[in-house]
Symmetry: C2
DNA sequence: GCTCCTAGAATTGCATACAAACTAATTTAT
DNA sequence: ATAAATTAGTTTGTATGCAATTCTAGGAGC
């Protein structure tokens, strides 16, 4: 009996949750461009549901900062304002620093080894020059550090903010130099975590996020000038 | 013409926003107790609206952690789990520390003076032994520090988490000693902000939040044992 | 007496209907 | 010809209706 329930965890999800996740993915992946109007009739057709769950999804995504609600004028995909992006990364820096500290205190050796495994997988993609694969494992590592802090509220808060930043990553490329530097920073972060060196990991994560910020901003700037041309 | 529009900025707010705010207040003030079922038919009657905007409000409050959605079984006011509360205060400590740092860098003298004014109003309530008034200005000061960090994302993130913590404050009393100590801590925080001493304000705010945590937890524990009796 | 089962009622999830607001295009007036 | 006004057509905001699920009583069986 228990076994059967385990194989079918909860196959039927609420439609509004499904809609929220689908829309979030579309926005994060840039398939719904910043500024795009979210026409309800159109989206209900494409997603195969009615307006009610769709509009519930809008409200949730608005709290995550991914869409903007214009009263009586519908919803649009929020713009990727460089200022907002900077602010988000500053906050995420503080959150990750806290996460690093807590992970040093609370993570098990097995959990650190799991992060180490992800680290090596990431290195493999870096060696192959596969940026998309690299990002995927990079993301996973940062998420795991926050997860293994053991603070569920921190994890949720971080995940919410992450959507907005991932959106930028999807568009931003990365110079070879910055990429190499980021990998070296990850080496140091893993080392600090293994040594459970709290002060060091806090400093490293703060710096890492600050660097991430400047590289994303640079790419965003390059992107906008490219579009202007 | 313009003058008339200024007196009536936008009197008609979307109903679902109004509902969200009203429900949030009810929950934060404890008038909707933790664990209480949120019957839709009942609430639509009391709030004078239909189920659609009400359910939209549920979704938003769920992202703030104030209500819990049980698929096919409705919504309940989320429990005030001591663990969750601790975690929230840890995150808020990190956020406030960042806010203090940024406020030292970015706040104008006028803004710091506004915080100073709130501080003195708070001292007045402390002198009178008026806990409710004290909390009100205490809250206002913390919010202003975050606001004057100049980071809007930080402000929003902080505000979202704050609901859950304010809820605890409404229930928690405060020992005279802890109250006096908190006031002294606020003195020091204001001094550090005035001196724009970043390292000091970060340390002070982190400690202040940590103390807040232990006092809230102590009160919560006292409350639950009182209820058990 | 207790557990299990089974209508019936209540409640939720989603779809649809209707009204208010907005958009845009044509007409009218200047 | 330009600008304001009017009106048809969308689109959104909210209410309501219907089907599916869950809850509650009451009774049958052990």
């Amino acid at each position: 009996m228990d076994a059967m329930q385990e194989v079918t965890p909860i196959p039927r999800r609420p439609l509004h949750e499904e809609a929220t996740d689908r829309l979030r993915d579309l926005i994060v992946q840039g398939r719904l461009a910043p500024g795009a109007r979210l026409n309800e009739r159109l989206l209900t057709g494409q997603l195969g549901l009615s307006r009610t769950p769709l509009r519930e999804a809008f409200k949730v995504l608005a709290t995550e900062g991914l869409v903007e609600l214009l009263p009586n004028r519908g919803a649009i995909v929020s713009q990727m304002d460089p200022v907002r992006l900077s602010e988000s990364l500053a906050v995420m820096g503080a959150l990750e620093a806290l996460a690093g500290e807590l992970a040093c205190l609370n993570a098990t050796e097995a959990q650190i080894n799991e992060i180490r495994a992800l680290h090596y997988e990431m290195l493999a993609y870096h060696a192959r020059g596969d940026l998309a694969g690299y990002f995927k494992f990079n993301q996973a590592i940062h998420l795991k550090i926050v997860k293994y802090s053991g603070n569920a509220v921190l994890f949720n808060t971080y995940r919410h903010m992450n959507g907005n930043v991932r959106r930028a990553r999807y568009m931003a490329n990365l110079s070879k130099e910055r990429w190499d530097a980021a990998v070296r920073e990850h080496d140091a972060i893993l080392a600090a975590l293994s040594a459970r060196d709290i002060e060091r990991i806090k400093a490293l994560l703060s710096d890492h996020l600050a660097h991430k910020l400047s590289s994303v901003l640079a790419e965003l700037k390059a992107l906008s000038t490219r579009q202007a041309a």
